[in-house]
């Protein structure tokens, strides 16, 4: 009786739903492709920006000297971003790193200037202190369940306060030549080329090894041509990178440190239990907890790592300024967060890479450097950086396939 009236609209509904679905699938497919090749898109974006700046500066931008400087400028933000990316992947945020960077840089200066501690004591000591302060933040977040935004906002205020207290608000100088060399020294050319060969050999070996492994475990193996193509691109980038740096003074030590961090943290993210758990905690904290994982310790460790990286960046900052400055690192937390987000780290947690974060840092450094060369006013620089960040997050939201 009511069957006919009730079934008919349902079938119509189904037909409409199917047509909609096809349309949606098409859009989703495009979005998926964009999300998958986000890093590639970022690299292309860098190439475009570089070309633009080269054009506008009449070639001054693309000189060995300027690129070497650009990478050195990027190094400190890169150090902080490599720690920040794990904090964000785990679903938290750290607003205290700028102040912590300043405090640790100040302590490094005090140990160096006032107590004349040798460098091999100062560096590990400051990094240990940084890790401890980070762990303190992590304890509040993981065990006392205060939101990380609040905990680290408190740290943002308090650590800067401690810095002003211990330095008396004055610049601490002059630091020893040994400490300055952390920022100002370069690898000899030969070592630079050697390093390039080493990086390429490692990449080639990992690619081959992973192909063998995938085949062994019955996973799909990408066509050899694709992997060879990727390696060829990598070879060009590596030759270009080390060639340009060696054409100036060699690989700057801070850049080398960032490269080492990139390698070490990429291995940590992909191949260690801790790394896997950071992604799991950020992806679904409750499911991870119910799997028998100590999620609180994971969070604490992530914050401790962040603290150590802030300390390292603090030492590099003091070395670069040749002094411990009470205002060092102001606003650094925002640059690091922006680098992570531009580099494809999801604010929802659970997704992101160290490589992406460093690409993000490179984009920010490029904008700073290029616009300064063009004599663009600082206020415009800030506006442009803000817009780029907004655009990056919008792309992340618009292209994510899930809600």
């Amino acid at each position: 009786m009511t069957e006919t009236t009730s079934v008919a609209p349902t079938q119509a509904d189904v037909a409409i739903a199917k047509a909609d679905r096809r349309q949606i699938l098409k859009v989703e497919h495009l979005k998926g492709a964009f999300a998958r090749y986000k890093i590639l898109a970022l690299v292309v974006a860098i190439a475009i920006i570089w070309a633009l700046f080269t054009q506008l500066t009449g070639g001054d931008f693309l000189t060995a000297r300027n690129l070497s400087n650009l990478l050195r400028q990027m190094a400190i933000n890169g150090m902080v971003a490599t720690g920040m990316v794990f904090v964000i992947i785990s679903g938290e945020i750290d607003l205290s790193v700028g102040s912590l960077l300043g405090l640790m840089g100040g302590l490094a200066a005090i140990f160096d200037v006032t107590y004349h501690l040798p460098l091999f004591v100062t560096i590990p000591l400051v990094m240990l202190l940084g890790a401890m302060v980070g762990a303190f933040n992590g304890y509040w977040v993981a065990f006392l369940r205060v939101p990380s935004f609040i905990v680290t906002l408190a740290g943002f205020l308090a650590f800067r306060g401690v810095l002003l207290g211990v330095t008396g608000g004055v610049t601490i100088a002059p630091v020893s030549p040994a400490l300055i060399s952390v920022s100002q020294s370069y690898l000899p050319d030969v070592a630079g080329y050697g390093l390039g060969v080493l990086v390429f050999a490692t990449l080639a070996l990992t690619t081959l090894r992973s192909r063998a492994k995938r085949a062994q475990h019955g996973l799909s193996v990408p066509p050899m041509a694709v992997d060879l193509g990727k390696l060829a691109v990598a070879a060009v980038v590596i030759v270009g990178f080390f060639g340009i740096l060696d054409a100036y003074r060699g690989v700057p030590l801070p850049v080398l440190i960032v490269l080492v961090l990139l390698g070490a943290f990429t291995v940590m993210a992909r191949r260690t239990v801790f790394g896997r758990r950071i992604y799991a905690v950020g992806g679904n904290l409750e499911a991870t907890r119910l799997s028998g994982v100590n999620v609180q310790m994971v969070k604490l460790a992530v914050f401790a790592l962040m603290g150590a990286m802030a300390a390292l960046a603090g030492i590099a900052t003091t070395a670069r300024l040749a002094a411990g400055s009470p205002s060092a690192g102001t606003g650094q937390e925002l640059d690091a967060i922006a680098a992570c987000i531009i580099g494809g780290t999801s604010m929802r947690g659970g997704a992101g890479t160290v490589f992406g974060a460093l690409i993000g840092a490179l984009i920010i450094a490029t904008l700073d450097n290029g616009m300064s060369m063009l004599g663009v006013d600082t206020y415009w620089q800030m506006i442009v950086k803000g817009l780029i960040l907004l655009l990056a997050v919008w792309l992340d939201v618009a292209t994510s396939t899930k809600r």
């Binding site: 009511t2 009730s6 475990h217 260690t272 239990v273 758990r277 992806g283 119910l290 899930k402």
Partner: protein
């Protein structure tokens, strides 16, 4: 002409091709209270969503007559203006706002200048509340100052302030204490005598018996029958609710049952929101090696709370002891539970089971990753061997072990979550609603797996809201009702759905 206030005729509703409602009738006279009964998933809530236009006109089939006129509401607001107001299972009050602000939310009286006229609002609220014999509730106080039962009363006052002619109460007492329930029932009777009709949905048949004038029973989305309450007994209603044929969906296999391996003693859980209320009340039971223990009960009976407490995952205050092999063990968190050989597959797969962005394989090894480390790194060869075995054993259909788990179907996700909790090689496995949202084929495979696990000597506790599943799989059945252990049956031929359901709704004191 019609002597009915509301007539719903032949209501049908499908969700992506699956019929949730298939020709259901419901009739309500003015001033009458109709009890709507049915098992979990029978379609009661869907029916009420059709009526209150949560599912708008056009998305379902059949007709609704309201005072003899056809009703075609497309928004909740329209149905409320007609006089149909639904009070949901979860309260929809804003705790920080005052009682009066909640009652008039979205319809606040305004002064000439457009500001909220608080005086008028308080006066009106006080008048409304005292008219409902709720004079003890102060309209100026924030809602959070009142307990769950009083909040329920405030919801009703809010509904009546919208001139409700028909009030729909969906499981209104599921989170109330016994004395709070009594007050609520008295209010509903009051309303009836003033001519407000109501549809009362509840698993608690003694409440239905007390206040309903007639009863409508639905089962698996179909209309079973309606009759005046005076002509019915609770056992009639139960027979109408279950009367389902058992089919051979359940591949029951013989398996030996050994010594007691696990004991729970005096487990009590307090409601984290309403500490006066016990979600689980002094439940004790034991489990033998190779046994499948089914835990039956209606939704909200406290079964999930019970097993979460055993697994160390219950968020509120709880007490009780757990013995494994006769030895007392302390389980304070899931990590310790896993270490003691107790694993749990949680009820809510999406929120508590999967890590969506991680690959299927990485989800499976999440619980045992520590076992695969070599020189600080994960031994990929060993990890992938384990993943491969698990995928083969549970026949998880996935294009690649690295595919994000969220791309899989519900059944395959569930199989992966079960695999994850099998990796630590538990002695006792808790499965909370293991086949919810799982297609028939995957269900069958999960049952098969359960039997092969118990033959290997594992013991299984299975919480399930589907009685045929409980009776088709379990060796023994525990029945939980309102937090109490109301039955412990050996599952032989004499155990029927009627006996289980009767136990579930019979409070202990009456049974004793």
């Amino acid at each position: 002409m019609s002597d009915y206030l509301l007539e719903m005729r032949g209501i049908t509703k499908s969700f992506s091709g699956v019929k949730a409602l298939d020709g259901i009738d419901l009739r309500v006279r003015p001033g009458e209270c109709v009890g709507l009964c049915g098992e979990n998933g029978a379609g009661k809530s869907t029916m009420m969503k059709v009526l209150s236009a949560v599912h708008p006109y056009g998305s379902w089939g059949g007709t609704i007559l309201w005072n003899g006129q056809e009703l075609r509401c497309t928004t909740i607001k329209e149905s409320e203006e007609a006089g149909i107001v639904i009070i949901h299972q979860e309260l929809m009050l804003i705790p920080q706002l005052s009682v009066a602000e909640n009652i008039f939310l979205g319809r606040e009286p305004r002064t000439f200048g457009g500001m909220i006229d608080f005086d008028a609002m308080y006066v009106e609220a006080a008048r409304l509340l005292s008219g409902l014999r709720m004079g003890h509730i102060n309209p100026v106080q924030p809602v959070s100052n009142y307990a769950g039962g009083e909040q329920q009363l405030i919801e009703i006052a809010k509904a009546l302030s919208k001139n409700a002619k028909l009030l729909i109460l969906d499981e209104p007492t599921s989170s109330l204490t016994k004395s709070e329930t009594a007050i609520l029932l008295r209010l509903v009777k009051d309303l009836k005598s003033r001519g407000t009709a109501c549809v009362y949905i509840s698993h608690k048949l003694e409440e239905i018996e007390e206040i309903a004038d007639s009863v409508t029973v639905i089962r698996d989305g179909r209309f079973v029958g309606d009759a005046p309450m005076a002509d019915l007994t609770t056992s009639d209603i139960i027979r109408m609710m279950v009367g389902r044929e058992m089919n051979n969906l359940f591949p029951r296999e013989e398996h030996p049952i050994g010594e007691i391996v696990f004991e729970a003693i005096g487990i009590t859980c307090l409601d984290p929101e309403n500490r006066l209320r016990k979600r689980v009340d002094d439940v004790s039971f034991s489990l033998r090696k190779g046994e499948i223990l089914g835990i039956a009960g209606l939704v909200g009976a406290g079964r999930t709370e019970l097993v979460s407490a055993l697994f160390g995952a219950y968020r509120g205050t709880h007490s009780g002891e757990v013995k494994i092999d006769g030895k007392l063990v302390k389980i304070r968190n899931p990590r310790e539970a896993v270490r003691h050989g107790l694993c749990m597959v949680p009820e809510d797969r999406k929120a508590h089971g999967i890590v969506p962005g991680l690959g299927v394989g990485y989800n499976i090894t999440l619980s045992v990753l520590d076992d695969f480390t070599k020189a600080g790194l994960i031994d990929e060869a060993q990890e992938f061997a384990t993943i491969g075995d698990a995928i083969k054993r549970l026949r998880i259909k996935t294009a690649s072990p690295l595919l994000p788990i969220s791309n899989l179907s519900g059944g395959n996700q569930q199989k992966a979550v079960i695999s994850k909790m099998l990796e630590p090689k538990p002695r006792v496995l808790i499965l909370d609603e293991p086949t919810r949202g799982v297609d028939v084929g995957a269900k069958y495979e999960i049952y098969k797996l359960m039997f092969s696990l118990v033959r290997e000597g594992m013991s299984i506790i299975m919480v399930s809201s589907e009685l045929p599943e409980v009776l088709g799989i379990s060796d023994r059945v525990l029945v939980i009702g309102e937090g109490e252990l109301r039955g412990d049956f050996i599952n032989d031929d004499t155990l029927t759905q009627e006996r289980v359901l009767t136990a579930a709704i019979t409070p202990l004191k009456r049974a004793a």
